[in-house]
Each structure stands twice: as C-alpha cells, then as structure tokens.
C-alpha cells in the first residue's frame, strides 16, 4: 500500500539516511527503531507528507502522496509527538473535532465510549486540567474511531502511558493489522504487539 523509494533526508549538514526504500503492505506492522536523533519522527513525517524528503518519493497505492494529498489524508491517521488537543476544550470536544476534520465524523455516543475505554470518563473538564498521560490517552482514543482508515502512522504512541493504556493501544494496533490495516510506529519502550507480519526498520 505505502511505498517509500530511495528516500534521502538531511538535517543541517548531517545525512540521516539515503537510499532508504521499503514497502508497507496491508496487514503489516512496521516498527521504526533507532536511537534519539536518528530521524524516526522525521521519517514518519515524510511518510505522511508533512515533510518533503530531500530526494526520493513516497507512494500510496502507486501514486505519489504529493499528488494525492487530501485523498491520501482521508485514508491516514497520523498521531504525532504532541497530543494535538486544544487546552480549552474537553477531551470529548477535541476527539469529535479531530474525527470531523479527518473526514470521519463520529457521534457523541461513540466519542464518549472511545474515551471511556481509555479511562477518560470525566466530561466537563477542559484538557488543560488533565495530566500529560491523560492528554496522550485523549489523543490515542482517536484510534478507536479510525478503524476504517487503512494506514496508521504513530509517533511514540506509548510515551507517557501507564501499563493499562499501553496494553489497550497494543491491542488496537494488533486488531488493526489483523483486519488488513497497515501500521508504522516508533517507540523506545518494549512493545509487545501480537501481529503475524511485523518488521523492524533500524535507522542508523
């Protein structure tokens, strides 16, 4: 589904990688590994089109993502390093807005259920009052409502999560891969995801 060919990426004078090619098919799980500063986040941003590689190309079902743009965005969930929630809004408002903007509107009922699964039951508190881990959960709850998006790109999904929330996230990823989705993620923690086809891409 997603193909990266001959990616070349420079940060300042340092070459992060060159000639990086790989493909991510339906039902595949790709873990991007590497030490701090090896370009994991940069790679995920290149894959979703937020950054342009210095050379090379990313293709989605054979078409360059540059050309597809919104059409590609509709099939993609990208969760970046920042939780992407507004401090002034409640977790439920944030999640509903995120789903609508992604072109996948969800009912308030579904939104509440997704948040409840992630242990966020309190409705009225703005996100400002939540802890770092709870914000992270509020962001990850979007995965519960994004099962029909074939491609998930997750940057450090397990950061700041407690064991239960990390477990739930692993389950969601495993289920998505099992039904034919493709997931690429970065992590520092040991993740234990139950998937038939998993690979590790080691960035030097």
């Amino acid at each position: 589904m997603l193909e990266a060919s001959d990616l070349h990426c420079r940060r300042g004078t340092r070459t992060l990688y060159s000639g990086l090619s790989f493909a991510l098919g339906a039902g595949e799980l790709l873990r991007v590994a590497g030490e701090n500063g090896s370009g994991k986040t940069t790679l995920l941003k290149i894959l979703c089109g937020l950054l342009d590689p210095d050379a090379g190309e990313v293709r989605w079902r054979g078409e360059p993502i540059r050309r597809l743009r919104e059409e590609f965005h509709r099939q993609l969930v990208f969760l970046g390093h920042a939780p992407a929630v507004k401090d002034e809004l409640t977790a439920a408002e944030n999640l509903a807005i995120a789903c609508t903007l992604a072109g996948r509107p969800a009912s308030m009922q579904d939104v509440r259920e997704a948040l409840a699964r992630y242990g966020l039951r309190e409705d009225s508190a703005p996100v400002r009052r939540l802890s770092q881990g709870q914000r992270r959960r509020a962001a990850l709850a979007r995965l519960m409502l994004s099962a029909d998006a074939p491609l998930w790109l997750l940057d450090e999904p397990f950061a700041a999560l407690d064991a239960a929330a990390a477990r739930l996230t692993e389950e969601l990823i495993a289920r998505h891969v099992a039904v034919g989705g493709a997931v690429a993620y970065t992590t520092h923690q040991e993740a234990n995801i139950d998937a038939a086809s998993q690979r590790v891409l080691e960035l030097a």
């Binding site: 937020l50 919104e70 965005h73 992407a84 929630v85 002034e88 809004l89 903007l101």
Partner: protein
C-alpha cells in the same frame, strides 16, 4: 469540506469564548490608542475632526495586527496544526475558516465600537455609517493579508516584529481607501469609489489569500 470549515469556525470561536482575554486585548488596544490621540494633539475640534478618519483607521490596523501572531501559533505549538495539514478538507478552506473566526472576534468588535471612538473626535454623525462600513469591508482584508504573514513567520524567532515589517506595507492600500472614504463624505462627496474598491479588495483577498495561507503554512511547517 463544509463540515470541516464549520468545525474549525465553531472550534476557534469556542476557544475564544473560554479564554476571552485574548480577544479583549486587541479591542482594548484599539480603544486606548484611539483615545491617546485627542490627549496628545489637544482638544482643538477642527484638528480632531480632520485627523479622525486616519487615526481611527491606523489604530484599527495596528489592533488587528496585534492579534495576528497568535492566529496559527497556538495550533502550531500543540500539534493541532499538523492535523489540519493532514485533514480531509483542502487546507485553503480550513485557512479561510480560521481567518473568518479570527475576524469575528477581533475585527467585528472594532467595527462595532468605532462610532463610539468617533465621538471623542467630534466626528459628524453622518460619517459614522461610512466609517463603520469602510471598517466592515476593510478589516477582513487586513485579516486575510495578515494571515499570510502570520503563516509565513510561524515558528520564527522575533516573529512579531518580522510580521509587522512584512504585513504593514501591504496594509497601505486598505488604509488609504478606508480613511479616504470617510474623508470623502466629510468633504461632501460620495464615498462610493473607495468603498467599491475596498469591496473589490475583499473579494480578491477572500478568493486568493486562503491558498496563499495554505502554501505558506506548508512551507513554514517543513
């Protein structure tokens, strides 16, 4: 597409409602700057009447610039801008909705309060309508042009000053037409020419600025 634009509009308005201080700052700035002039230049009614359109317009221009820097900065800081860039609706539509929301909370209040400011300058009551109308047509143009600058300077150090240098020269035609329309009426002439040109500027900027903003956002988030 419409749903995305409506969502952004509702989201930004709701955020301002929950944190009204930000919007109030620009309005207070406008009131204070416009009130400083009569104190500075003295209470000579003829002089005040003569400078009123220009001073009120310059104050409105500075006030609308004051809040520009925050237009995309908050979204950039908390990561929601990335999600907007990856949204299912064209980025231009999303940008237009953001500018509209920004104008509703920072431009429209200026239009509403301008006649009150004009009182301090002893402006003739028949000029109030033209003043408000010129601001109504002109402030959204300032918002659209300013948003391009705000998008371009996103994430830069000293973005505020750079933004002013970038955007203020582009505000000149709006200022000339806006203040000019009020002066026309006070000279006993019809302001139609200036107002129509302002309306034309509004149409052109509403049609093209959103795509320039979108391109600028893509450049500055790289």
């Amino acid at each position: 597409m419409i749903a995305a634009a409506r969502t952004i509009l509702a989201r930004d308005l709701r955020i301002v409602l929950r944190r009204p201080g930000d919007a109030a700052t620009a309005l207070l700035f406008f009131v204070i700057v416009a009130s400083l002039f009569p104190l500075g230049v003295g209470a000579e009614p003829n002089l005040l009447r003569a400078v009123a359109p220009g001073v009120i317009w310059v104050a409105a221009l500075l006030a609308s610039m004051l809040s520009l820097a925050r237009l995309f900065a908050a979204d950039h800081a908390d990561g929601t801008l990335e999600q907007l860039l990856l949204g299912s609706a064209p980025l231009g539509v999303v940008s237009a909705a953001k500018v509209l929301a920004h104008w509703l909370v920072s431009g429209l209040p200026l239009v509403a309060i301008a006649p009150l400011i004009a009182l301090q300058y002893d402006l003739a009551p028949e000029l109030y309508g033209t003043l408000a109308l010129s601001l109504l047509l002109g402030t959204p143009v300032l918002g659209f042009i300013g948003a391009i600058g705000a998008a371009l300077t996103l994430g830069l150090r000293g973005a505020g000053v750079l933004l002013a240098l970038l955007v203020l020269p582009l505000y000149v035609p709006v200022l000339i037409l806006g203040a000019g329309s009020v002066e026309m009426v006070s000279a006993g002439l019809a302001p139609d020419g200036q107002l129509l040109l302002l309306a034309a500027l509004l149409v052109v900027s509403a049609a093209f600025a959103p795509w320039a903003i979108a391109a600028a956002l893509r450049i500055s988030t790289e």
